[in-house]
Amino acid sequence: MIAVELRKLFRRPRTWVTIGLLNALPVLVAVLLAVTDLAPRPGEGPVFLSAVLTNGTLYPLAALAIVLPLFLPIAVALIAGDSVAGEAQSGTLRYLLARPAGRTRLLVAKLLSVFAFVLVTVVVVAAVGYLVGQLLFDVQPIGATIGGAGGTTGLSGTTLTPADIVGRTLLAIGYVTVSMLGVAAFALFFSTLTDSPLVAMLGALGILVASSLLFTLDAASSIAPYLPTRYWLAFVDFFRVPILWRDVVRGLALQGVYVAVLLGAAWANFTTKDVTS
């Protein structure tokens, strides 16, 4: 069942178009930076972007930081919102269920395929970011040791070895992936409520916009820790020495709770729903 969903997802041209478009922005930013040599002033613009001119090794992270606030959630909401509602709209849902693909099984398979999409997308963005960083920017020589020439300076002023950077980048990729699961769960839940993929996607994006807005509002500070977007930027904390786990752990737990609750709601709704499309 999961294999079927993955095949459906990744044999669909739209999936790859989405991933491709997602990569266009970081590549464009990299090209512009390399051509003009005008990095944003430190502390402004997406995190790590100010550092990439001197060290391209950080570009995968800068690329993630560029797509994280808007483009990545849109892509995830698009795919996840389409998962059930899209099948309902095209009419294939009734054939799947009459096959019979059990409703719970179908839902779990959909969720897992969306997770796979998120992971592939984030990895592709990071990989493209790596290539672009290597091609367009100065790269510190690999194999440098702490204190020697090269290496990358982390946020805390500690020199990170290339192995460190690779490890921490992988952690950050994993964390960003998990951060997107909450969006995916929202879109999947809405996707079981409606037969229109567009409505499901917009619903999930509405939640995100509301969450981002509330996060900036002092009056909403009491609910800020529970907003789905609250800990998104915590992947930066992997580059502090020692790693600041507090927000990362909270972010993981929060996403876990959102996924569990929304998947539960999606299950309660979908398994008892009349399929009339």
Binding site: R11, R94, L97, A98
Partner: protein, 285 residues
């Protein structure tokens, strides 16, 4: 319905045919009562029963970006049963059955309506089902296509498949089905063998240029007079003919009276359900 039937499920638009089919397949949950399919309760036993059922509900639906073959493979893999090893062979067989074996790798979105209908039928046949549930299977097909589908269904029926055919096309049902049910506003108002429903009524229809003279010749036996025809009691057309000829009445045609399926259905069902009359108007009818 019974195993081995070709069951025609008739009803006006909106009378509940599609909903009934959806209930059978466990897509819609009944508000009251129970649904049994192949002797098992639905949707509880869906995992056991549905693999033995092939369905085509309200038109076919496919993944437009994939080829017909890939669509069938996905559908086959989506449910339980259906061995992976025999998949390719089964797909080849059903594509041949529905006449699509030559389409190759073209994506489904390039298919014509008729081809999609055939592909939908192929998907329903993929598991060699004991029961075929078909909702308007000939929608979008040209006359040749309708003929082919009819032959295919009769073939399947001969090889032991039970067919449940939901349709509002009386002619289709009349030509295919051995047993008929009529649904009116969600209620089954009639269910019988087609042969019984359209059995002779015990009257003979006489076609004559001069119906008034029939009355004179067979006084007391005439049930109905119309322009150019008369309906006469009597189960033996030869006997009626002899009596008329003896009386010198010109007869141009003579046959046993059988109700058409249309008449049966119209008699059983009331007005079309998608007609919405004002309450007062309806009571006057």
């Amino acid at each position: 319905m019974r195993a081995g039937d070709v069951y025609g499920f008739l009803g006006a638009n909106g009378s509940g045919k599609t909903t009934t089919v959806r209930m059978l397949l466990g897509l819609v949950l009944p508000t009251k009562g129970e649904v049994q399919l192949l002797g098992e309760p639905m949707p509880k036993a869906a995992r056991r029963v549905l693999p033995r059922v092939g369905a085509l509900v309200e038109g076919p639906a496919h993944y437009g970006h994939l080829s017909g073959r890939a669509n069938l493979a996905l559908m086959d893999a989506a449910g339980p049963g259906g061995s992976r090893r025999t998949r390719k062979a089964r797909i080849d067989t059903v594509l041949e059955q529905v006449g699509l074996s030559g389409v190759g790798r073209k994506p489904v979105k390039a298919y014509s309506l008729g081809m999609r209908q055939r592909l939908g039928l192929a998907a329903a046949l993929l598991r060699r089902p004991e029961l075929l549930v078909l909702d308007e299977p000939t929608n979008g097909l040209d006359p040749q296509g309708i003929h082919e589908v009819r032959d295919l269904l009769l073939d399947l029926h001969r090889s032991g498949t039970t067919v449940f055919l939901s349709s509002h096309l009386l002619a289709e049902v009349e030509q295919l089905c051995s047993r008929v049910g009529v649904l009116d506003r969600g209620r089954l108002v009639l269910q019988d063998q087609l042969a019984t429903l359209t059995a002779p009524t015990g009257a003979t229809v006489v076609e004559t240029p001069d119906p008034q003279r029939v009355r004179a010749a067979l006084d007391g036996r005439v049930l109905e007079l119309g322009a150019g025809r008369a309906v006469v009691r009597g189960e033996d057309p030869a006997e009626v003919n002899a009596a008329l000829v003896a009386a010198g009445v010109p007869v141009t045609g003579l046959r046993l009276q059988r109700p058409t399926l249309e008449e049966v259905v119209l008699a059983a069902a009331s007005t079309s359900a998608d007609r919405v009359d004002a309450p007062g108007e309806r009571s006057r009818r």
